[in-house]
């Protein structure tokens, strides 16, 4: 079991020092990931999902950013403490990343071939000819027809969905053991979304890699993830296997999120439910439960003390002072 562990993150804290003060973006995030596992990371915009992942790859601009504490053991080594050269060797090689907006994530002045060959040259030491042959295979693998010719095309000659396929091919070029997909379908329309989800699932199974899928779309993540982390204001508030989370959520925030999902079987004259209030201002140092101000169940303890993540059922953790199954306060 121990050797099966791919990534183990403990107490990661990242903040940004800006003119107005300090933004507490990630406040002690811990999670682990097994080889070949698909983990969903959900939460609304600005809750620290992307910053958590960028911190792991050390892609946060320092300054203004700062990784205050934590460790991230990946294949036995701490990502946060290795040298710049070592982390460069991890990026795109052991850990691939796909970004949200395929329209802006490819360099407009370089051909697709050049960009696709980059990780092959850098990480696998391939010469131009072999890299090109492999690039053709990669493009075919992600379903781009006429790959041979498309290598010399520029990004503006591709549509959004095609570009996202190219991004995926780039991220997978060196056959990483972990793929981080940062809302890869958000900028795409629904039919293309489904294709991309299917493509990643298919490749994940073939290459036996782990995937962290970041999204704010609970519908998408239900299809692809085995286990889900719910983030709120820089904290992980709930962690559960995907079925448990949808059927038996143990955190008020997750419940509110699920209740806000649009449903086909809901009556049309009913308004979409939303969570009242807004996420807390991250400029203030976190105190108490960040969701307390919007929570229907909040009581006095919630205002002063952050509840720790505790196991509420098998492989199911929740950070709440109330056990939602029994209604008992801790």
């Amino acid at each position: 079991m121990e050797s099966d562990l791919l990534l183990d993150v403990k107490d990661l804290r990242t903040c940004f020092h800006i003119a107005e003060g300090t933004v507490h973006a990630v406040n002690g995030v811990s999670f682990s990931l097994r080889n070949g596992e698909t983990l969903g990371l959900v939460g609304e915009s600005g809750c620290g999902k992307s910053v958590t992942m960028l911190s792991l790859l050390r892609l946060i601009a320092i300054p203004p950013g700062e990784i205050v504490s934590g460790e991230a053991i990946f294949e036995g080594r701490d990502l946060l403490r290795m040298s710049d050269a070592e982390i460069e060797h991890i990026r795109g090689n052991k850990i691939g990343m796909v970004f949200q907006d395929p329209m802006t994530s490819l360099n407009p002045v370089l051909t697709i071939g050049h960009q696709l060959c980059e990780p092959l040259r850098i990480h696998l030491g391939m010469d131009a000819q072999r890299a090109r042959r492999r690039a053709v295979q990669l493009l075919e693998m992600v379903g781009i027809p006429d790959a041979e010719h498309r290598l010399s095309d520029y990004p503006h000659q591709f549509s959004g969905g095609m570009r996202q396929r190219v991004m995926i091919a780039m991220a997978l070029a060196a056959e990483p053991s972990l793929l981080i997909a940062d809302e890869p379908t958000t900028a795409l329309d629904v039919t293309i979304q489904a294709q991309i989800v299917e493509l990643v699932q298919h490749l994940r199974a073939q290459m036996n890699m782990a995937v962290i899928w970041i999204t704010h779309d609970l519908g998408v993540v239900a299809e692809i993830a085995e286990r889900i982390l719910v983030m709120y204001a820089g904290f992980i508030v709930e962690e559960a296997m995907v079925d448990d989370l949808y059927e038996d959520s143990r955190h008020p925030y997750t419940r509110a999120l699920l209740a806000a999902l649009p449903r086909v079987d809901r009556r049309r004259d009913q308004r979409l439910r939303s969570i009242p209030g807004a996420p807390p201002n991250l400029l203030a140092a976190p105190k108490g439960c960040p969701f307390a101000a919007r929570c229907e169940l909040a009581f006095d303890r919630c205002q002063v003390e952050m509840p720790p993540l505790r196991t509420v059922a098998t492989a199911h953790q929740s950070a709440c002072w109330i056990d939602l199954a029994t209604g008992k306060k801790w």
Partner: protein
């Protein structure tokens, strides 16, 4: 580490299922678009043609006249107006002005181009470092840039030209012998004009490096030097090309300026600039002394500026003209 056995992954049924999204006709490349816009710019085309003619004149003339002709002193034929034997007349010591404008033109053009290269090298390096790394390095480099900018350029040029021109040996290049002062002038012009370019490049880097594709390239593990030179620099190339083009004109003018004041390229090596020097006392009595080199300088500078304008419009991605 070449890990040879990479899997060949079969495309899945669903993965090959795609919707044709290609346009009917292949879209134009960035270069084609730029050429299309450039072609519409009449003055730029005119500038380009004139410039080609001037370069042909200066370098083609070599085939007809030797350098010895340019420096041949015929004391009996001093200050002769244009005639059959001397179409552009002769100067104060009887040298043929036509041949001197040919050989002087070579030097002026070479000075213009190489001073531009020196400027681009210094300006791009400093601007790129400041813009990419930011922070302390940026502060230091930008203060240095401002320090050079606040000194009046002509003053700096004259002081440096005088200081470095002590005794530099002649140099041989392209089968010709140049006065060593040519090198000094190239260096001095390059070393005083780079701050403008450095600022342009820094501003470009500051904006380009914030793009998502730079983050994506870093996430791919691309090393810093490749990010700077292969990802950011090509995205900043348009203003650099325009600025560099205009710098060639500026360098030719500056060379003329210093040479006119007698601190530039030393005789007998001719340049368009130092041919003007001797003409100063004959503005009214021997017009051909300043007219021909002056005309060539004016035409060259004007053409390069038109060309630069055309390039600016053609390469500017925000330009609406198609």
């Amino acid at each position: 580490m070449a890990s040879e056995p990479l899997h060949v992954i079969e495309p899945s049924e669903s993965a090959v299922e795609w919707r044709p999204d290609e346009l009917e006709t292949p879209p134009l490349t960035l270069g084609q678009l730029a050429w299309r816009r450039f072609r519409r710019h009449r003055m730029a085309i005119f500038g380009g043609v004139v410039l080609i003619l001037i370069v042909l004149y200066a370098f083609g003339g070599m085939l007809v006249f030797s350098e010895a002709d340019a420096n041949f002193v015929e004391t009996g034929a001093r200050l002769q107006p244009p005639s059959r034997a001397h179409p552009f007349g002769t100067d104060t010591i009887g040298r043929d002005i036509l041949v001197r404008t040919i050989y002087g033109g070579q030097i002026s053009i070479i000075i213009g181009l190489t001073a531009m290269l020196v400027e681009v090298f210094i300006g791009v390096t400093i601007g790129a470092l400041a813009g990419y790394f930011g922070g302390k390095l940026d502060s230091i480099l930008m203060r240095l840039t401002e320090a050079v900018l606040v000194i009046p350029q002509i003053f700096l040029l004259l002081v440096m030209a005088k200081y470095f021109a002590q005794d530099i040996p002649n140099i041989k290049f392209l089968g010709r012998t140049f006065s060593g002062s040519v090198l000094v002038i190239i260096f001095v012009i390059g070393a005083t004009t780079w701050p403008y370019l450095a600022r342009i490049v820094r501003a470009q880097f500051l904006s380009v490096k914030e793009n998502d594709f730079i983050l994506a390239a870093r996430a791919t593990g691309t090393p810093t030097h490749e990010i700077i030179f292969r990802h950011i620099l090509p995205n900043s190339i348009a203003p650099i090309i325009v600025s560099a083009t205009l710098s060639v004109a500026a360098a030719i003018t500056l060379e003329a300026y210093i040479s006119f004041l007698g601190l530039g390229v030393r005789p007998p090596t001719a340049t368009w600039g130092n041919m003007l020097e001797g003409a100063y006392n004959y503005v009214e009595s021997a017009w051909w002394l300043w007219f021909f080199p002056g005309l060539l300088i004016a035409l060259t500078v004007l053409s390069i500026n038109f060309l630069g304008d055309g390039l600016r419009d053609a390469l500017d991605p925000h330009s609406r003209a198609v």
